[in-house]
Each structure stands twice: as C-alpha cells, then as structure tokens.
C-alpha cells in the first residue's frame, strides 16, 4: 500500500465487519406475509375477514396464520404484511392493554385510542427507517360508537365505513362501494364478506381457501372458527389456460 493512501484509514478505528453491519439490521423486505384484510361497519358493529395463509415470498408456506385478533374490550385488529411484525405489534398492544387494565379505574382504551396509538407506532418506526411492514385495520365499538380505521406501514391513517388492505383495496372495495350499507344485518354482512373473499381467492394468488370472520359489537369480539368457501374451477377458460396464448415454445 502506498503511503499516500495511509491517512485515509485511522489505525485506531479500522473499519471492521461488526460496526458496519450489526447496528443497521432492519426490515428491508418482508419474509412471511399475509394478504388482504376486509372490514366494514354493519348494524351492530364491525365485521372483519382475513384468510389464514402465510406466504414465504410467493410460496404459500403457512396455512393457519391468525391475522385477526381482539385488542382489549372494544377493539379488533386485522393485519396484512409481515407476520412477525404483526406479532410484535400484538406484544406492544398486550402490554398497552395490560397497563391500561392495571389502573383498574373503570377507564379503558377504545378503538379510537388504539388506532391512534398504532398510527404513532407505525409512523415512528418509519421515521427510524425501520418500518413495521404491515397494513393494519382497526375496528371497534365503544359507548355505542362504531369505529373503523386503517394504518399503513408508513403511518398513513384514515377512518372509513369500509376498508380493505392490499389486493382487497382493488378487488373488494369496488364491491363494497356498490353493495354496502350501514344498517346491514349480520347475515347480509357475512354474505358480502364472503363475496369479497371469494373474488380475492380467485384473483389473488397469495390468498388461500381458509378464512376467519370476526365481529365486534357492544358485547365484545367474536372470532369464528376458520372455514372454506365453495369454489368452482370447472370453467372452460380454466381448462387449458394457454390456449389462445401461445408462447414461443
């Protein structure tokens, strides 16, 4: 090495492997992901649905991932995106709800409070260039007031009467815009959810045919056992997908 280059490297602070890599581990891309969550208000509260697939890249690797969870007494959280980040968020929320309960003073965090808390967490993490790789849907009922909102991985947040993450935003929301109304019964709501989930199942390659529906009302959250939708793949067009689209080999 020529002497002229020596001053560039301080012998006491020679760059070593650890200082370069160890302090900058962050989520650069997600590993195991869940796909769409669909949710909307109905007569008694909020309905939410998500399938149970966990994709490792494009491999459908896990089939029983619960992506809808109750938070405290009044809220329901659904997540798409990185599953491990969602589990971390659930740990944050468990602690939040625990400390809230420890006051034991009759006050409790409602869906609005939890939604805003999540907004702060997500935006704060993106400001550290270390985002939690999720789209979150938060629904709930408190004091007769229905609440439904979304938070993105960079902290964008809003409330709406019906929301959907990921592909659902493209495929389910148009259906909801046409067919949703605030005073739907539970049965009509489930039918509408299934319609959305069926479209997603057909057109979203990461969707799996095992889904959970959840509701939250003034009485609390209920997450129903997973089940499958009836599908029909026997259409002529499915039989020989490459017919009429001949490739070069």
């Amino acid at each position: 090495m020529s002497l002229s280059k020596m001053p560039l490297v301080d012998a006491n602070h020679a760059p070593d492997a650890s200082s370069c890599t160890l302090d900058s581990q962050r989520t650069l891309y997600p590993y195991v992901t869940g796909t769409s969550v669909v949710a909307f208000k109905y007569k008694d509260g909020i309905l939410m649905a998500a399938d149970m697939g966990g994709s490792y890249g494009s491999t459908l690797r896990y089939k029983t991932v619960e992506r809808v969870k109750p938070i405290g007494k009044h809220s329901l959280l659904g997540a798409s995106g990185e599953i491990s980040d969602f589990q971390e968020i659930l740990r944050y929320l468990d602690e939040l709800i625990l400390y809230d309960n420890m006051w034991d003073d009759g006050n409790s965090l409602g869906p609005k409070e939890v939604h805003n808390y999540l907004t702060r967490v997500m935006y704060n993490r993106r400001n550290k260039f270390n985002p939690l790789w999720n789209s979150l849907v938060l629904g709930g009922v408190k004091n007769g007031q229905k609440y439904l909102g979304m938070v993105s991985m960079i902290g964008v947040n809003f409330e709406d009467n019906h929301v959907a993450t990921g592909f659902g935003n493209h495929l389910a929301r148009p259906i909801l815009r046409d067919e949703w109304n605030e005073n739907m019964s539970f049965e009509d709501g489930v039918k509408l959810l299934e319609k959305c989930m069926r479209v997603l199942l057909y057109r979203d390659r990461s969707a799996v045919n095992k889904l959970q529906i959840a509701k939250i009302t003034e009485e609390g959250a209920t997450i129903y056992p997973p089940y499958s939708l009836k599908t029909f793949w026997g259409l002529e067009a499915y039989k020989n997908p490459t017919a009429g689209a001949e490739g070069s080999w």
Partner: protein, 273 residues
C-alpha cells in the same frame, strides 16, 4: 427558639411516627389564600381569593387551565403550583398526542400524587409546598380531587383549602348534599358564597376572586371579571358583617399557633388530610 430534633430532614421519622418536614409543607398550604371547589353531576366550579402580597403589586394567578377538560386551583407556594400545573399540562398533551383522547382525570391525579410522594422519600428533595384542587371532566363524569404535599389525594364533592378555608368548608358541609343535582349557575353561586365565607370582613368583589368552570359542553375556562361581578350582583352576595368574620380569623390563628396542624374536629395526623 423552639427546636425539633426530627425536623431537619424530610426522610427522618420522629419517634411518634411523623415526618415533620412533610407536615410543614402541609402547613404551607394553609398559609396560602383560599381556594375552593365543588361539583355537580355535570359541572365542577373552582374559585379562589386573590391577594396581593404588596400594596404596589398585583395578585398572583391561582387558577390554571391544564387542558380543555381539566383545571386546577392552588393554595400555598404559587411557584410550586406552576411547576405542577406545567407537569399536568404536559401529561395531558402527551396523552392527547398518543391516543387522540383526553387523559382521565383520576389518572392524572394519581401521577401527580406519585410525583409529590417521591419528594417525601428522598433526602435531597423537599416536598411541594402547594395544595391543588383538580377539577375535571371525563367519561365517568365530573370530578374534584385534592392533592396535597404528602402525596395523598382524595376525591371530594366539595372542598376548600388555604387560609380561613374552615369557614368555607363549614358552609359547603351544610350544603353539599344538594350539589349533585345542582345547576351550573347554582354551583357558581355556592362557590361565590363559600369564597365570601373565607373573607375577613371584606366585601366580595370580582377583583378579589377568580371563578372557573368546567362541565359537559363547556371546556375549562376562567370567568372574566365582568361576568363574576354580574353574578355577585345578581345573587346579592355581599360581605358578612364584622363579628362572624372576626371569629373565623381567631380560630384560624389558634390552629396555626398550636402548630400541630391537626384540625381539631378530627384529631387525625395532618398527613391524613
């Protein structure tokens, strides 16, 4: 001069199980000019007596807005009161930032009491020399709390602190059973009368008192002087005649002279109050 072996340090117990420094801090609350508070199901009213230290100075502010739903009235060291109300403001604003909702009054009061308690257990600190009446409205309704230097806090229907507050307490004790269903205006009226009780032969005028209200559909605010004067005139609240007021002063002096600080009627250790 009277010397006490056990009062040079906050953290030193007397053999009788007392912390004299803490009791002295409680005494500072009694020296301050009076502040009272009372509440109904929907409203809380705070009121205080404004006293200038000096002919040439104006009086110090004794009622502070903490947030839209919380306010405090203080008696004792105003400087300590300001520090504590700044702390309360910051707690409220931080809660609003994180949760977009108002901090429940009871929780703020517990945090405040914990802060005061720490000062009674550290050799390098001194207790706050201020009593706070915390008025607030939250999901569970209207609340009135009293926080004292010992780190204790209590919820009240109505309460009075500061010099000659016993007279106001007596008045409030006679009337408090009706407060729950009182209208806002009746609360203000009772607040003004209670304040008048603490005056020593002086006429109640808007320039020597401050009144603040918080309630359903009404964010915490201090009534302006003109409004207060109109209320005083409307209710025809005038100064008491000399004799009863002079009596009240005598009893207050005796209590201070006794130095024990225990209200005669309860006989409890001062820290309990």
């Amino acid at each position: 001069m009277f010397r006490n072996q056990y009062d040079t340090d906050v953290t030193t117990w007397s053999p009788a199980g007392r912390l004299f420094q803490v009791e002295y801090a409680m005494e500072a609350v009694k020296q301050g000019s009076a502040a009272i508070g009372l509440r109904s199901r929907t409203h809380v009213v705070l009121a205080c007596v404004n006293k200038a230290n000096n002919e040439l100075s104006s009086h110090q502010k004794k009622i502070f807005k903490v947030d839209d739903h919380i306010g405090v009235a203080i008696a004792g060291l105003t400087a300590d009161g300001r520090v504590l109300s700044r702390y309360m403001r910051s707690e409220c604003v931080n809660h609003a930032f994180t949760y977009e909702s108002p901090l429940p009054v009871g929780r703020l009061v517990v945090q405040l009491a914990d802060k005061a308690q720490v000062c009674t257990q550290r050799s390098w600190k001194r207790p706050y020399g201020v009593g706070l009446l915390v008025a607030g409205l939250d999901e569970s309704g209207a609340h009135l709390y009293y926080n004292c230097p010992s780190g204790n806090y209590f919820e009240y229907q109505a309460f009075a602190i500061g010099s000659r507050s016993q007279a106001a307490k007596t008045y409030l004790e006679r009337r408090f059973e009706n407060f729950m269903d009182s209208s806002r205006d009746d609360l203000v009226k009772d607040a003004l009368i209670a304040i008048r009780e603490t005056l020593q032969g002086e006429t109640l005028k808007s320039n020597i008192c401050t009144v603040a209200v918080v309630g359903v559909g009404e964010p915490f605010h201090i009534l302006d002087q003109k409004t207060v004067q109109q209320l005083i005139d409307a209710f025809e609240i005038v100064g008491e005649e000399e004799p009863p007021a002079a009596e009240a002063e005598d009893t207050a002096d005796q209590e201070t002279a006794a130095g024990e600080g225990a209200p005669a009627e309860e006989g409890a250790a001062p820290m309990d109050i």
